[in-house]
Amino acid sequence: MSDSAEPVLRVEGLKTHYDSTDGFLDRLFGRSRRVRAVDGVDFELREGETLGVVGESGCGKTTLARSVLRLIEPTAGSVYHRGEDLTALSSAELRDRRTDLQYVFQDPLSSLNPRLTAGDVVGEPLDVHGLATGSERDERVRELLETVGLNANYADRYPHEFSGGQQQRLGIARALAVEPEVIVCDEPVSALDASVQSQVLNLLSDLQEEFGLSYVFIAHDLRVVEHVSDRVAVMYLGEFVERGPTDAVFEPPHHPYTEALLSAIPEPDPLWDGDGIRLTGTVPSPIDPPDGCRFHTRCPRLVPDANSDLPADVWRSVAALARRAASADDVTSLTATRGADDRTARLGESTRRSGGSSPRSDPATGSGPTEASRETFGGLVREEFDLPETLPDADAEETLGEAIDALYDDRIGTAATLLEPAFTSPCERHHPPEYEVGVDHGIACLRYDDGFDEEAGTFEEGAEPAGSV
């Protein structure tokens, strides 16, 4: 930690939950459903630096960005700007603060009022804060337009008359008008094509140099983040799973999720054989996020139970079966398609098969899996989850056998209750705190806990992770 100065922006335990309760009746019966879009995020932004925030869509990036500036009211937590808590400010005080904290939007066109000319868009912050009037205002507007690389003669044009890149420049000029310290950029280049992206990114970094700005830079494109950021935070389902200096995040050790994201960066080499880590399934619903580590449902490096003697990958396969059984409502989704050559391979390990069809592909019509014999059915289930004919561990094999029996009788619930206690990962039980793995580099994964046995690849159950939830 380089405690050189007080950070410009410090976010502590920021939570933003949405109430998605459907209506009056639901409210009456207390069936409230809270979307935990941002669920406990901490970060610091130092002067003149860029903090990149990456994550797949739906993980709460935009909500985080807006909560930081209180464009959405955070549910809990604090945002300190120069030591003062923004969440405690009155709305009038907050309005004054907006001269220091600005926002650049993802979609440049929709963030510009179609009825205002470019000059009015850029001049509005000046009017709102009374920064300039009359000819001084016009002069400042022209100056701002030129600062972002637009022709000052365009001041009378309407937003739709600009190209996407120019619209985004206009959005940046608007943010610059109040001479802010911090600009939160919410995917500022995602809506632009590649060549324009680099122009806008360069503009942002030029402005950073010129005005000493600090950026919170939200993106889903890791290459963009790598290019612009001094530090990177990786977000998954409302939480940061890893954060640290850009180089450190892009080099091992990784959080398994970061690793998967990094492997997805396209490589222009046609002969490149590097295998992307394919994450199965979708991001779980933030209404009811998974217990323990939120990534455990999709994690290719799930930590096996310490009491199990199974090899790690086999263990993970059975755990995947247990999890699927707990959520499935139809046995067919637990079996392989008859005769399918390509199967979804278990991912994350070096021995992966290429190709792969949807894991939920239905069996051939007419011959449902439960109509097959018990042996065939067991085979189908094992095939779907890439399990060996018999598990190397006798106890485990027995449990699995019983579970498959239950599935064969169409008792999914029974199978789930059989499997679940036997194949529960420590990742499901413990919510990993952030472990310091390097200078200023933290990873929230049990693999970096002291209790994690690197050799065996297991987590020592006795050792409670510090600060586990």
Partner: protein
């Protein structure tokens, strides 16, 4: 454009062996793409047409760029012949009724013209010409005939426009402005505010409008301002609901968030960003509603509840000659007593509706953009060449 980091594999000349010679790898970064560096792209951009266009060439473009949706709408409206005809009809009707008889304010004549030959309340056979009898048919002297009380219908129809037309515009002006403010506040703040405000609107909607107006007029008595109150008191609900719906979607737009992000007050956000963008459907509804208010006023008049019975208001005039619709004295039907005032209502309402449709078409943003843009580009090109 591509740069091979591994020089050993780059030597073979024949492409066939070369691709085989290069082994498959899972190392990243063997091929690097150049030429897409930002600096280069930026340099290239400065040479693009946008740069060229910058200084002189955009004079035409800037002038054209000045006009917003409203001015563009105005031009489209101007090209819409039926709407322009209707506008001419409405304007001339309004003018004629204004100029029909002199207007005095506090004893001072502010409008000296008199297009109507007689005062609308003059009973002709008493003061002008004893030979005139009630229900005289149209003649050169009385172009629209004489009504049941012996008054000149032509004069009455001309002057009657003053009441009907002005009530229409006054009521719509009042209700639309109130509805805009009400709906914008409800839609912008949402939540409980919205819930309460919209339930009030629902209550207003629960009564049939004309019956409510009838009750109000029956309570307050007839008269001009009573009619305005009767129609305004409940007429705003439709605007409020329309604007609220519009504002709900506008309030979610990013430019509203952007306005909040730069620190604008709610009031300024509503005034500058929300309300103007909700205005065009409101204008359309308002222009269509002028007609229905006029009809409503006429309907109350026909029921004998509008203006005082003798007033030269179109609906009231219809009421006064109601019995002649079936059969007049002497077995003949004096059609002129009902056709002319009824026709005036019909023409005015029709014209207002055509105008409303015209405005609707003119402000339709989807139809607006492309053709205009193309036209303007062509104009620009012409300007550049000259």
């Amino acid at each position: 454009m591509t740069d091979d980091d591994d020089p050993g594999t780059d030597t073979a000349d024949d492409d066939g062996t070369r691709s085989r010679a290069r082994s498959r790898t899972d190392e990243r970064g063997r091929i690097r793409i150049t030429g897409f560096e930002a600096d280069r792209v930026r340099d290239r951009d400065s040479l693009s047409e946008w740069g060229d266009e910058a200084a002189g060439g955009t004079n035409g473009g800037t002038a054209a760029g000045m006009d917003g949706r409203w001015r563009r709408g105005l031009r489209r409206f101007g090209r819409n012949r039926s709407a322009m005809t209707a506008l001419a009809v409405v304007v001339s009707m309004a003018l004629v009724s204004l100029l029909a008889r002199p207007v005095e304010v506090l004893g001072v004549v502010v409008q000296p013209f008199a297009l109507a030959p007689y005062d609308p309340t003059t009973i002709l056979y008493l003061s002008v010409d004893p030979s005139v009898s009630p229900y005289d048919p149209p003649s050169w002297r009385f172009p629209m005939g004489v009504d049941g009380s012996g008054r000149d219908l032509f004069s009455r129809v001309l002057v009657g426009g003053r009441y009907s037309i002005s009530i229409g515009f006054v009521v719509v002006g009042l209700t639309a402005s109130f509805g805009l403010a009400y709906g914008a506040i409800a839609g912008y703040y949402g939540g409980v505010v919205d819930e309460v405000m919209m339930r009030i609107v629902d209550v207003v909607f629960a009564f049939p409008g004309l019956v409510l107006a009838l009750v109000v007029v029956a309570t307050l008595g007839g008269g001009y301002w009573q009619l305005v109150i009767a129609f305004s008191l409940f007429g705003w609900a439709g605007y409020a609901r329309l604007v609220r719906g519009e504002v709900l979607s506008i309030a979610e737009r990013e430019y509203v968030v952007a306005a909040k992000a730069i620190g604008a007050r709610d009031r300024a956000v509503i005034r500058r960003h929300v309300a103007p963008n909700a205005l065009s459907p409101l204008v359309v509804l308002a222009s269509l509603n002028v007609g229905s208010v006029v009809i409503g006023v006429a309907a109350l008049g026909f029921l004998g509840l509008g203006m005082d019975p003798g007033t030269a208001e179109w609906g009231t005039m219809l009421d006064a000659t109601r019995e002649t619709l079936i059969q007049g004295p002497g077995g003949r039907i004096p059609w002129w007593a009902t056709v002319y005032p009824g026709g005036a209502i019909f023409v005015f309402v029709l014209a207002m509706n055509v105008i409303g449709d015209g405005i609707n078409d003119a402000l339709d943003a989807r139809a607006a953009g492309v053709r205009e843009g193309k036209r303007r580009r062509e104009a620009d090109r012409g300007g550049d060449e000259s």
